[in-house]
Homo-oligomer: 235 residues x 2
């Protein structure tokens, strides 16, 4: 089956967690909004008044299904492409980790948009600075410390053990994104998370991921996405 | 099977979405942290260095499983207690709606905590006011407008059609919470969402929910939870 991924064409954003899963699985997919009149098609599906219109991108068309919400898409893909355990308990555990990553992603976004997603960063520089301080002081140690403990407790390979799941691909993206957005802060912090850094390297070296990162299918980080490099927030 | 729900004992918070599902289903459960040394038991499970320790409450012990993240718990309960469709597409759709509600809940929390969850409201009054303005101007119409359209498109009974799902119980809680936290703003806004108001009434009238709301198992709203009544934010 050829999947159709719908996501904003100029950013990695939340769509990137889905792209990484599709790429690692070697799945056949089209990144619809990046070509032709894909953007118009995407907007049309969101504005549908019948059926199951998604609230926001990303969403995935898989045969007759249209699946929205990043973690929900990964739940679906994980079961079909060997990116999650087959047992119910295993599947729920990986999904739980992904939902915790999703919470962290929202907090990352809030570092530059504490007053809400509808205002520009330029209109919230001072609160962004305060929120970012709090983020690095309290939240990064809490979230990344949690995942680091799991990696260590499970033998140091992947977050749930010896087999890769979609949650590992997402943790790779988190590490890449924090390195991009906060190069100084992240450099200083990485000594606390050797397991996650090794996991990041392990994911980056997977053949399909390596090929993807070197291709133009991987959109470069930029200041329209979740991870934004604003000097004022890095130190 | 007797479930054990672990959540902070003094607030409705995210645990309430799970409580409403358990109550509507008439499921047998203990709200562990509300009695005896339940709080200590909860903290111990979160601090476990092996197995599948949750990042945060709520989590549900169901036999040998420990399931964390509100939407994940509902995914599990929905399938077992007739609170979600049986088809894969139906299950994913209800879960997608729940994840969209979860995003909205985080934004509701950010109205009083725009600078992050680790600081007190009293230390972020001015940004909270700005964020709340934006929230009611942009975000409430977007989220509640989306759910209102779905209710209307599906015949006006529940959000996915004629049968109640756990997403409807959560939408009830959203309506109750917004009425509590922002009585003036919500009163003015409700004319835009007649379908959701009717859905709220329909849920409130369900016998198990009605009994629950009248019991002391329902913790009253207060200023430690997600929905907080701060006069300065209501007008």
């Amino acid at each position: 089956m050829r999947y159709q991924l719908y996501y904003w064409p100029m950013i990695q954003g939340r769509g990137e967690y889905v792209r990484l899963a599709l790429e690692d699985a070697g799945a056949d997919y089209t990144d619809v909004a990046r070509a032709g009149n894909g953007m118009a098609a995407m907007m049309k599906m969101m504005e549908a008044k019948k059926g199951t219109p998604p609230f926001a991108p990303p969403f995935l068309k898989a045969g007759a299904l249209v699946i929205g919400q990043t973690a929900n898409i990964l739940l679906y893909l994980g079961a079909r492409h060997g990116l999650a355990p087959k047992t119910e308990g295993g599947r729920l555990w990986v999904h739980q980790l992904q939902l915790t990553i999703a919470d962290f992603v929202l907090e990352i976004h809030d570092t530059h948009h504490p007053l809400g997603p509808s205002l520009y960063y330029e209109d919230q520089r001072a609160p962004a600075k305060k929120r970012t301080e709090e983020f690095w002081k309290e939240r990064v140690p809490k979230y990344l410390g949690y995942f680091e403990d799991l990696v260590q407790a499970n033998g140091g390979t992947y977050v749930t053990g010896r087999r890769l799941t979609y949650a590992d691909l997402s943790l790779f993206q988190i590490a890449e994104g924090l390195r991009y957005a906060f190069p100084k802060r992240m450099k200083a912090f990485e000594k606390n998370i050797p397991g996650l850094v090794a996991l990041r390297d392990r994911v980056a070296a997977r053949p399909n991921i390596k090929a993807y990162l070197a291709s133009d299918r991987r959109i470069p980080f930029n200041e329209e996405g979740i991870f934004r490099r604003y000097k004022a927030l890095d130190l």
